[in-house]
């Protein structure tokens, strides 16, 4: 049993938010996470959304880890075939439309770069927002280069390129059910495309908020979080492409 020490001490509460003096810092600040339209403490919200994204990437990673391990297992698998009375491995190496996929990759990587510019642009606008909100102060940068639009265009370009790649695969005789290798090709590229489509929709939404006159801080949060997601999607695509190329 723990010994009872005679000295009684009051433990000072420690704050993870760098101490708040006498006024406790309320971490649930801002609009309580999307409640209402006010965004008084957008720094908090930005940090929280980034954290949420980092956490949210984990299940996506697990999904693709599961697909990849199924891929590798299925590739090396010999299963007893009752028709041939023998163990068979029916994996046929893919003939990927490599050139097209490389072009698509370039689209995606380029979009990742423009995404970064868009993110920084949105961040800048958000920082000066309190100033530009004052009447009579004009902002020259609002009509800056449309990085967001370019990113969305490149993203859609990538998706269109992927559709083209599926067409090419079909033309060379690799359908969804032709062979496990082509099944996995459609599965991996399709799942990635769906996830990227989510990013495109988020960016489009961020673009629409300009017309909706939503505060730039709100847009910045959407753009910022989507940007990190977008970079993750680019990395994920590089991984998938490498997997398909190396482990045929």
């Amino acid at each position: 049993m723990a010994t009872l020490t005679p000295t009684l001490t009051v433990k000072q509460p420690k704050s993870r938010h760098g101490g708040g003096g006498d006024i406790p810092h309320y971490p649930g600040g801002g609009g309580g996470g999307g409640r209402g339209d006010e965004f008084p403490d957008y720094g908090e919200r930005l940090r929280r959304c980034r954290l949420g994204l980092a956490v949210g990437i984990a299940p996506i990673v697990m999904l693709f880890v599961a697909f990849s391990s199924a891929y590798l297992v299925r590739q090396g698998l010999a299963s007893w075939d009752l028709r041939t009375n023998s163990y068979i491995n029916d994996w046929a190496p893919l003939r990927l439309p490599t050139l097209l996929l490389v072009i698509n990759t370039c689209f995606l990587l380029l979009s990742s770069i423009t995404m970064e510019f868009a993110r920084r642009q949105a961040s800048r606008l958000a920082v000066i927002a309190p100033v530009t909100a004052m009447p009579g102060i004009a902002d020259d940068e609002t009509s800056g280069f449309p990085w967001l639009g370019v990113t969305v265009a490149l993203g859609i370009g990538f998706l269109a390129g992927q559709v083209l790649a599926w067409r090419q695969m079909e033309m060379s005789g690799f359908f969804m059910s032709s062979n496990p290798s082509s099944s996995f090709f459609y599965l991996l590229t399709g799942a990635h495309a769906l996830h990227l489509l989510g990013g495109v929709i988020a960016l489009t939404y961020a673009g629409i908020t300009v017309w909706m006159k939503r505060p730039p801080e709100a847009r910045h949060i959407v753009v910022d979080v989507t940007a990190w997601y977008w970079h993750f999607m680019a990395l994920l695509w590089l991984y998938i492409f490498a997997l398909l190329e190396i482990a045929r």
Partner: protein, 585 residues
Amino acid sequence: MTQSQGPAGAAQAAVHGHAPSGFIRKYVFSLDHKVIGIQYYFLALTAVCVGMILSLAMRLHMVWPEASIPFFGVLKPEQYLTLMTMHGTIMVFFVLTTAPQSGFGNYFLPIQIGAPDMAFPTLNMLSFWTTFLSFAVMIAAFFVAGGAPLSGWTNYPTLSAIPMAGPGEGLGEDLWLISIALFCVASMMGALNFITTTLDLRAKGMTLMRMPLTCWSWFITAILGLLAFGVLLAGGILLLMDRNLGTSFFVPGGLMVSGVPVQHSGGSPLLWQHLFWFFGHPEVYIAILPGMGVASQLLSTFSRKPIFGYRAMVYAMMSIGILGFMVWGHHMFMSGMSPYSAFAFSFMTMAIGVPSAIKTFNWLGTMWKGKIRFTPPMLFAIGFVSLFVSGGLSGPFLAQPAIDIPLHDTYFVVAHFHLIMGVAAIFGIFAATYYWFPKMYGRMMNDALGKIHFVITFIGAYCIFMPMHYLGMAGNPRRYSQFTEVKYLAPLIPIHKFITYAAIITVTAQLIFLFNLFWSMKKGKKAEQNPWEATTLEWTTATPPPHDNFGGVTPVVYHGPYEYSVPGAAKDYIMQTDPAPVPAH
């Protein structure tokens, strides 16, 4: 109380003070974590009623296969399997995963850490409605041509991959898979919210090591869910593709089902089992960890004693979570998987016994030299410990592959997982209900009814599941709709009858609980703010808590969650928000 209300707090009050007033925004598509928690709870309550009725019909059919069962009629063997499949699925996903984690976790995690809501309320709402949709799709499987699937909640291909393999393996099976996929997505959204909330929204002074053990259990459970459900989703997608797009992930070549050749080749049914159990084993801990948290919280509160070995409890839950991802192969000792890998899985599984034992010892240590108040929630917490011990100790038999040979897929396994993951977890839910009901509804549940409910349920659960061990030893396989065909099972039928009688009584006794729950909402004795004299943050706020949980004030936390019977203190408990000194420990 030292809840300081500075200018910032006042500003918060202005922001949070006005709750949405329309019925739809307030009760249906609500963003309030408390409303969502209650929605989850009642979804689980609906599901548990369905699941329990299914199990009762199964028990009746098993011992009187020719009898006409109320509402079901005379069951055919395939209908029995359908009920069995849906019972397992509904109970595991929509009850054991939904009530303790999504229900109580949603309601009380933000309050216990001093937050005004979850980190992402909209996501929280989406997660509930996706779960609801998932449940609706699951129930819809009953009503399509061929009915619900019969391949068990484990849904092994090739039985589940080939529509001809049995009734219910057509559209019903597809709906089952879609429902599970939706559930995976909902659970991942929920887990994301729980983790972000725990990491980011704790009140001032609420360090991780000052969180109530309930919060730790929800947090660790969320991490398990976050990592496990993605893998089940992957498996579900692959199986849907095999069934509908002609791929061959799980089905090998040359099969004939009901005289019809199957057009697949080269796949492996074991691949599904690996993916499924990589999810399935952590899922067991997703079901039971919140129960452990609740039991710890209640044993400390009602023994009027600090929890024994707080840190050990946290580390034990963490190691259970980590080891939980390394043991999935112990479900597959007889599957044809490499016998060598059984060694690794067996070792890891036995290792899980260690943190589980630590928790049991610490619960006993908490009550040791305590001053135990036998309230209904405490009774269920004590029942939890007893059931956890009983269910846990059959684990080491099944974890050893040599002993698993005769026991695998027998009633011994049914007894094991029902005691530890089913009944123990349900006891956690009951304990949580009796404990938090006063905070949620502002009224007390009836004490006498609660005690009667406990005694019948506790004895009943043992009467149902303890004899199943003997059946398993005698070689009674699971998932048999009757025991008349296999000769050596005939002498075991009296035991099955005993179990069925016990099940009828136990299920009927749950009406006491339902009555108590609904009656107390309207007619229960008014509850004080802190009826149990507990220390955690939910008891510092009004009953029921206001829209932003603390009415604009901001809680500040000064010490750990279990400061009971502090020598020299005025009362025998010191709230977490009370700056009164406590001895260093």
